[in-house]
Amino acid sequence: MIENSLIRQIIDGATHRYAELVQLHQSEVFALIVRIVGNEAEAEELTQDVFLKAYTNLRQFKAKSSFSTWLYRIAYNEAMSHTRRRKEVTIPLDERRIAQVGEQELEDWELSEQEEEVERLIGAIEVLPSQERALITMFYYNGFTTEKCAEITEQSVANIKTKLHRIRKKLYLMVKS
């Protein structure tokens, strides 16, 4: 793979070629972090830290997964520790109410394209716990597969699928209430 040979060259001393890796992934990494932390300035600072950390630990990258998965794992962990340091305001929802949401009503709502619904959905996403916000960003915005989400967050695929399903129901309830 071209990316792996580029990484080899960087490890062997071609530091300037790291710019190519940064160029390749910077927007996607920033997109994920900004949606997790919610603040653009902080997100940019964190994105820088992620690339620096990736460079520092580049020798530990064993190419077992793709470089992007490895990089996103760093980004996810950095963003999570950042959000853990500040107190998050989230809205607790009754688990029974979440479980009661029917599949059909959920899917009907998801097909709605009204701007008003989208606006409400943005508000609901903003008050989701950061882990859940990260998950829906990776799956719906970055377009990652559940397998890749599982690798990044170090959880099982089944767990990711369950969580995504639960988040969809939760968002529906938050938008509707």
């Binding site: 790291y18 710019a19 910077q26 949606r35 899917e107 959905l121 996403i125």
Partner: protein, 116 residues
């Protein structure tokens, strides 16, 4: 993309449309270069210290060997042997440090004179 996913995608896209500042890559690379410089310096020092320790070890071993052979440590011949080994080791270390410290500026200078 499934149609039911569209609503989430639309909302997530609208959450932040800001892109990174224009000099983001330059800033990252500046920090990366600084890190690389520091790492190189640390590696150089580690090798120097290891070299010195090895030199001391070899010196001590030579002293011991000399003592075993002649029964004395500081005979003229023994001091001469130790001096020879130390000079050889120190020369190697100096050459190594010189290479590590001046390789980059010399290469940059040569590149300036002849870019090809």
């Amino acid at each position: 993309m499934e149609k039911k996913k569209m609503i989430y995608q639309k909302a997530l896209r609208q959450m932040s449309e800001k892109s990174l500042s224009a000099d983001f890559q330059a800033q990252v690379m500046e920090r990366v270069r600084e890190k690389a410089r520091r790492r190189e310096l640390i590696e150089t020092w580690c090798i120097c210290i290891t070299g010195c320790l090895l030199l001391i070890g070899v010196g001590a071993l030579t002293l011991w060997a000399c003592h075993q052979v002649t029964g004395e440590i500081f005979t003229e011949q023994n001091i001469y042997t130790i001096k020879l080994i130390c000079t050889f080791g120190i020369t190697l270390l100096i050459l190594y440090i010189f290479d590590e410290l001046f390789r980059a500026p010399i290469l940059a200078f040569l590149k300036k004179i002849d870019p090809n």
